[in-house]
């Protein structure tokens, strides 16, 4: 972590994050103003900095295969999805747990809020309708446990965890104030309540992963 003092009259200190900051504690307030410029992805996970190296080849293969199906749906069902964003394009800020998350993929059915109060941040009030995380070996616990809790708290109606290594997908749908899990295996077709008419073929994602592993 480097603290850079700017020369303007306010003498503002900006924080530059580096790979070695992984595991370092930090407040959400400091993290939100910190800069990064090295192509890695930084999250704040319950007050601790988490650094993810990009790219991870197989992670991208799984995400890309899922994304292609969502893109096809956007073409056949125009107007349902207003925005779709990768982790570098969006964030999810939770003051309560001192977390800032960057989901692998976020789908928004609502328009981007145009008027934000001075004391609010777009990423605290704009709630995606579906988020997707692709599990990597070091993110397994975080994706299944921590993020499920936080995405529920944030108000997200549906959350998918795609686990290529174990050839399963967990679809979590909000019901009665908690996430109801549905396990999806290759060969199962999954219908998302958030995207009417969309049928997700998890088998196709696993085929793409198998081809990339050859």
């Amino acid at each position: 972590m480097t603290r850079i003092r700017s020369s303007d009259a306010m003498s503002r200190v900006s924080i530059q994050l580096h790979a070695q900051d992984h595991g370092r504690p930090m407040s959400l307030a400091e993290f939100r103003t910190a800069d990064t410029d090295d192509g890695r992805r930084y999250e704040l996970s319950r007050g601790t900095i988490t650094v993810t190296n990009i790219p991870n080849r197989l992670h991208l293969v799984v995400l890309n295969a899922a994304r292609q199906q969502l893109s096809a749906y956007e073409v056949t069902h125009p107007g349902v999805i207003k925005f779709a964003a990768s982790g570098t394009d969006c964030k999810i800020i939770l003051a309560d747990t001192e977390s800032e998350r960057h989901p692998d993929w976020a789908v928004y059915k609502s328009e981007m809020p145009s008027e934000i109060a001075d004391d609010e941040d777009l990423w605290e009030v704009w709630i995606p309708d579906l988020v997707i995380e692709v599990v990597s070996p070091d993110s397994r616990h975080c994706d299944f446990e921590d993020k499920a809790e936080e995405y529920l708290q944030f108000g997200i109606p549906e959350y998918w965890v795609l686990d290529g290594e174990r050839r399963r997908m967990l679809a979590l749908q909000r019901a009665g104030g908690r996430y109801k899990p549905t396990e999806v295996r290759p060969g199962d077709l999954y219908r998302s309540p958030q995207l009417p008419g969309f049928v997700f073929d998890f088998g196709k994602v696993m085929e793409a992963l198998a081809a990339a592993q050859k």
Partner: protein
């Protein structure tokens, strides 16, 4: 398998019950029951000033709905909808619930999440409206919860910000434009005035 169905009556006020049993229970016509953290609550038929405030609010939201078709799918009152929470063993019936989507599976109240719910405070509901319901509505995934409090001359808009409620007081001198309902505007002065007029 034969299953005993519970019939709830006024004497069940305060009785402990699970959400599963409560959802299966029958109630006598004309009475509204809630389950509040595992305890049966009989919702007293509110007095007329309460009813005209709910009516005025519904009229304002309905006016926006007519002028802006396609945004609001349903405006339901407490007798027409329910909010079941498995986590806290509660079933809530808000004074008004505004939905911008239809559920994927009909009849599944647990997955149909209103964007906005409104409670008009009455003397008997004050503690529930202020203390218990904010937690339940946050947990359920609701985007905004409005507490309309004529005694205090304020509408407290609870807006979901970063996974918590941020409380914004709206006074009768100002209009409230709701971002979740794409600019639906509420004139709370008119809501209070309707009840004030009744009481002379």
């Amino acid at each position: 398998m034969s299953r005993l169905q519970t019939q709830l009556s006024l004497s069940d006020r305060g009785r402990r019950m699970s959400l599963a049993d409560f959802e299966n229970a029958e109630t006598l016509e004309g009475q509204l029951f809630e389950l509040s953290r595992g305890e049966v609550v009989v919702v007293d038929v509110p007095h007329l000033p309460h009813a005209v405030q709910v009516d005025t609010l519904r009229e304002q939201v309905s006016g926006f709905r007519r002028a802006n078709p396609g945004i609001i799918k349903a405006i339901l009152s407490g007798g027409e909808c329910k909010i079941p929470l498995h986590v806290t063993e509660s079933e809530r019936h808000p004074d008004l619930a505004i939905y911008c989507t239809f559920p994927d599976t009909p009849h599944d109240w647990s997955a149909w999440i209103p964007e906005v719910v409104i409670e008009v405070v009455s003397p008997t509901s004050r503690q529930r409206d202020y203390e218990e319901k904010p937690k339940d509505y946050l947990q359920f995934g609701i985007r905004e919860y409005w507490i309309v409090d004529r005694a205090e001359r304020v509408m407290l808009v609870h807006r979901r910000v970063g996974g918590q409620w941020k409380v914004i007081p709206v006074r009768p001198i100002e209009l409230y434009a709701c971002p979740v309902l794409r600019g639906c505007t509420i004139d709370i002065a008119k809501v209070f005035a309707a009840a004030d007029e009744l009481e002379g």
